[in-house]
Symmetry: D2
Subunit: 492 residues, 4 copies
């Protein structure tokens, strides 16, 4: 155990701790499974988000599904209840309804998984873990996204101040640091060393891809370090890996609570209202669109083109267009268009007002620039639609004297400091991730539906990606506010 | 064409216009009232938000309440449906459920008005007004708030581009311009003259208080100008006045659609999730808190004190504290405290880390600074808690060598440019206000519940103010993240 | 009143105007030339910046050079002196010394042109033009640069308020609008329509290249429009063209005052301290460097690479590095380096601190990416050093696991809003351009030496470009603060 | 020597070091004083800034004045010369001319002290100190000002990287930490702990007033800690105290180099072009003026009033007005006005455009609000002109329906993060302060004249304050661009 940082500290008696934890699992044995029926009379089935018994450390080894009877299985009193006798705790039986429209004309398209509602994520009076025995770890995976430091900070603060947990490891370079702590030694996180980190972009734990090929190796290392609570901040790939880690831990009977905070600057996480950092990215993108607009309006027949993030979903481009309301065309992966139509719209817009602004998601128009390649992880290598569009517009306008101004802000968008309201959102996610772990859930993610944070199995989160619905109010409003033609709107 | 309101393309031929308007009221007579039962089986009662028949121009003169059968009573085809055959319109029967928690332990405290759900606000295929005959007016009332120009712009754009309405008047200085257009002549709004206004703070229509004492006078003037659609952007007082105006118009049988967009930088509008401009105000307030923190951390025993908006509700202070997470004490109107406790917390915080930051809402601690006065409109004149706090802290710290740094940003917060995501929110409100008016509603406001924009009678909105619930997750999190003592938290 | 240029209050009665202008030239004949000696005892020679008699409308047709005796030749009283009897005017005989170091070890390298000092640019009591007869025009040429709108606004305001000139034309698309006002009709500028323009980036007159091939055609058009004062805002090419225009006007005897405000976002204007907009560009570039730094510090062996403007001079990159002080390597056109040395520095820096930031000027390292092409105007087409550097670093680091994060902010830098202090600078330049024109100078530019604005012949300004001196304090400080190795510093 | 931090470190053998330093003083004995004549033929007299022999550690105990023959008296080779053989060093004989206008009509008003020029501050090849024996300390005094952290950081970096000095103490709370290191223990500064500090406002060393009453006590403490180089960052009071400290050290024969970096957010430091942080303060103030303008333009007869810093000099108000160019009246301490005239201008401006913006320096109009008090340090306690003005305008406008919007940004201005270009300026000052100390000067300050940084005796800097000259181009331009009436301009 070469680099075990907590080796000497009193609260890091992990052998003892681990034994206690294992014993903890036993608590649940006597309990009766809750019915496979949600409070609303709706049947819970296997794919229901509320079917959380397989994802609770007291019941995960049992066959039955259903809601967890937390008040029975969670034996420890939340230390918050001692410090704050008048504190209002969540009733763990509460469910947030997934479908909240009556006479819903889109009923058929609502996700079945949410039909029975979702368990709320927040602090409960009874918790699963003895806080004295908790050894937590945080890992940030994948590319940068505004808010990573906010989440690291608030998970640390909540563990430290509310639960008295002082053993908090920051794993470096994503799962790489989990797998290989010798090469990438974890950082011991304290309220002091996270105090100002939310004032900077990026991640003090460094974000990294890969490292999750072998869950067993990661579990070995976590076990060595006595970690019994792991927070995984990352995209659908990260949560899929977290799910595998959870399955492997279940198999081992290693009582590790794994709670994910889904991250996607593209905002393509399914089920949840919105990802953290998305608002900050949209704000940054709006400013860049302003730059393109300044260029376009300061010359004759100028076309500002801004390439924005969005491999499979065009939320950043759409929202940045809605936020700036100075865009004349938004191209997103969800809508297939023809270049002839694009150029026609360019001509018409220039004829109408002599300038134009285009926001294009990186994943849009891939048929024009297909590379036919996949990278080492099997993902399609996308062609550069931004450059293609720039060149097409330039050659089209050559005769008439117009030209394009192309801006690819690339990392500028994702490396910004979190905006104030987005930081609040990160804090909510972080605190509820901690509460959820303390309540004994594992293999789950936290995130909001209808503005309320809920707990959901990670394999549901990893099951698919969210995309823009062409008939959503947002896209239709975007199309209208841009004055886009039908041919480029997808609405035909 | 009974409901044809204006026959002439000339906008302000008011005599003819008025006659047509009066005639228009008759249109709705033949329709049958919808049942007083919402789709969910829940009973609609008089105070139900969904009980909108009294607020629809086709049914307002009838005794029965209930849901409006828009598809029957609205006779015009939305022009969007012609331009966009594939556009997805709202099913007007859809209701957003008001209460969405199952097994809700706070069920008793949920507003009864929302129990039966709320009618959604969005574009419908069938509309009440013939767009050719619409003459709209916009008025911004009360103090400034970020986003007024965004709302003016997007109402104008939606009327102009989606409905082809070109007769759009901007009334100046709030209701004063409605009452006295000779002194404050209205501005004719066009897509050109609103194009860049969202890039500036304030209101191009100027915001003003007063002017609504005599609804009849205002109606006379609106009638003279042929206005049949009025958008009122303002706080609970503005919406109360709009309700009176609606009642007076109803009495006259003057078919004027009055749709409000509730405004409150304090975020104290009841029922709705959040007010527009609030996020921008919080962001600005967070930056000022940063200034106070810089001062406090750059001297010995420094206490930064920042006074923020919030007469009756401390949302700005609470959210700014949550957004900056560098505040040690938040004082809000909802929590009564003793100065001895405040000073004790100052001493303890300084002892712990040598600096401290306090965010105080203007309406907090009024018992210390009560003026005993009321202003001309009957509102209590508040004492200056910020200065009182500064002086108290200074004299308390005089011996020990500490001092305070007091910042009263006053108008700095409310005059900022709207932030990108807040502009999106303004746009949604603006568009849905237009759609709601086009659908024939009057005496109503638009705003979101559970993130979905709904239509609600203005008298409900004006009936009370929202305040921070001490046992809400937000306040409890605020108390925790600030490390406030019980004695100052209200949680005891 | 020989010099009376326009008799009519109607602005564009050009026939009469032109005759008057032609007559105007005769005014200066009777005057005696000033000695070819500056006040300091230093000899004025032909290339001296202070040798302004060839550039004054009273003396331009005469053979003698020397200082202009403005108090004798300028016959009109400045209207400021009437409005402000106590106003302090510039003594037109004052010269700013060009060389201000005693015992100067770099004496040999100081520009000879400045040896005799420079005439100050500011308001004088006696002016050449009758303000009632002035018809001014403004043109903005070349690419965008922060501050163009500030200069347009302040020229307009100064003409309007201080001199009562109301005939101010904004020519569109650079010289194109001068040459072809039918295709690009001029905008009439007023204090109202320029009021808020400095709050936006870009140029309301649109900036444009080309259009100056045929000075005669431009003069014909200006004459037609009665313009007798032209402000040319643009780079060295623009000022070279302005000089040709001046020569052609001189030949015609068309008394047109042409005053340039040199523009270069690269800051490569010779003689003058600094170009307008440069500080704003550096500030914007510093923020982008911050983005690159966030990326580099948030991964393992990350190298942030930011490409910045600077075709022939690396001022933006150097200053942005000095302003952010988080850069480890600055590559500029003035210093030739070898890639092996660059990669060695990458290795050493990563070994030392695991991350690195590189700022590279677009004109640096062209030997690696030479295109061998020239564009239609004869300028060398530069290869993309940014992409080259990114690829080189990536392939170099492939084995060790590091990678680069490449940002090309392109138009983001130049389309920003002017920063407050830069706006002050623009205002000074604009006002002094107006005063200089009013004093009768033509074929000149205004700009600061030693912080004092002076007047200088445009052909001097167009004669060469400023480049970074490798042994300047700025570059040496940059090299030191970046901890660059000797091999990449040019200091060897 | 209770808290001596460097006690054990090798380079902190201060006894030895101190002896060597004392010996160093002897070096100068044999040298002949330079003539009391500057290179320009101008006589150096006692008050000449260039008369630096009394301020050099090699000559300070000698009677003669004159220039220092640094190349003879400085015996150590600058380590930069070893690391960078090709580095270009300053010729220490170079002087920057103080008066650089020929035929100067304001010759009489130019400061006599600069007549003979000023010694340049920059790195020289020969230095006085053996870098191995240097123990430096930095102190920041008085109120906050943007850039303090930049200066702390760059002094540390320059000492560390360029001179290899690793013994750098950050004294806390201004001179208090110098006087009483037991109560306020110094921080050991390293390149690591200063790395990110320039990204925050304030001072990590905390700024503090007082503590300099007893120079002997400070010297005792510095001697105890072996400090032989002290950087004093503070205003004229701080530099006056530094001068006393210097006199006391001279008396003791304690070879302590004291080099000041003058600080004044009011920009009222005499002789030097501009203070650090001033541009950042002006930028922040301009934004607040924008807020006042938004308020004023968004109501009827609105008057935005912004109070800005400026006790005795109105530079911040004047520059913020010039930077925003949306101000209609600037009130500064240098211009006495009558309220009747102010109110008349208010009426006229409102009549002209219905809104108005006033920027008022805190020290303006004191005759209206005189307190008659002085504080403990003997400074006059100023009355609150902002509130007075607000009340006067409000009561004046009560009848006509107008009102004021008063903003007192107070600490918001001075606690901002340094702007990029201002950081460059701080870096220059910091580096040249280090070079100046290394060259053996003491009792001096560094700062720029004509954009070039020079060395000047601190007693000259402390001798008086800079004020706005009413007939300067800046104030006259301000008056003009604001369209202020003569009666409020001082120009009468």
């Amino acid at each position: 155990m070469a680099r075990c940082i907590f080796h000497s500290a009193q609260w890091w008696r992990h052998q003892a701790g681990f034994a206690a934890l294992a014993a903890g699992t036993a608590c649940g044995v006597a309990m009766r499974p809750s019915k496979l029926t949600a409070a609303d009379g709706k049947q819970l089935d296997e794919r229901s988000a509320a079917n959380l018994r397989p994802y609770h450390l007291s019941t995960w080894q049992e066959p039955q599904g259903g809601l967890v009877k937390e008040r029975q299985v969670n034996k420890y009193l939340n230390p918050i209840a001692i410090a704050w006798p008048d504190f209002n705790f969540l009733n763990p039986d509460e469910l947030v309804m997934g479908h909240i429209i009556l006479n819903d004309s889109k009923q058929a398209s609502r996700p079945k998984e949410l039909a029975a509602g979702c368990v709320r994520g927040n602090a409960c009076r009874e918790i699963f873990f003895n806080p004295d025995e908790v050894r937590a770890a945080i890992v940030t995976c994948g590319g940068l996204c505004p808010g990573l430091n906010s989440i690291i900070r608030e998970i640390t603060n909540c563990l430290w101040h509310q639960y008295g947990v002082k053993a908090i490891l920051g794993m470096q370079y994503g799962y790489n640091g989990c797998k290989d702590p010798d090469q990438f030694p974890p950082i011991q996180l304290t309220v002091e060393n996270v105090r100002d980190i939310h004032m900077k972009g990026g991640s003090i734990l460094k974000a990294g891809r890969g490292g999750m090929e072998d869950p067993e190796k990661i579990l070995d290392q976590l076990q060595k370090q006595g970690v019994n609570m792991l927070f995984t901040v990352g995209g659908d790939g990260t949560q899929a890996a977290a799910n595998k880690l959870f399955q492997a831990a279940k198999k081992r009977g290693m009582p590790l609570s794994i709670v994910g905070v889904p991250k996607s600057i593209d905002n393509d996480i399914v089920f949840f209202d919105k990802t953290f950092g998305f608002d900050s990215a949209v704000a940054a993108a709006s400013e860049v669109i302003r730059n393109g607009w300044v260029e376009a309006t300061s010359c004759s027949k100028g076309v500002g083109i801004v390439k924005l993030m969005g491999r499979d979903a065009g939320f950043v481009a759409m929202h940045a267009a809605l936020a700036s309301t100075i865009v004349d065309l938004v191209m997103i992966p969800e809508v297939e268009v023809e270049m002839a139509e694009v150029l026609k719209h360019v001509d018409q817009t220039l004829a109408r007002k002599d300038f134009m602004v285009i926001a294009v998601a990186e994943g849009a128009g891939q048929k024009f620039v297909a590379t036919g390649k996949t990278d080492s992880t099997g993902h399609t290598v996308y062609g550069d639609i931004g450059t293609y569009l720039k060149d097409s517009v330039n050659s089209h306008l050559k005769v008439s004297g117009g030209r394009s101004f192309y801006i690819d802000p690339s990392y500028i968008i994702r490396s910004v400091v979190i905006r104030p309201n987005d930081h609040i959102y990160c804090s909510r996610l972080a605190r509820d991730a901690v509460h959820t772990a303390m309540r004994g859930y594992t293999g789950v993610c936290v995130g909001p539906i209808h503005n309320i944070i809920v707990v959901m199995p990670s394999n549901l989160i990893a099951s698919r990606k969210k995309r823009i619905s062409i008939h959503s109010s947002a896209w239709q409003s975007c199309v209208q506010s841009c004055n886009m033609p039908k041919s480029l709107s997808g609405l035909h």
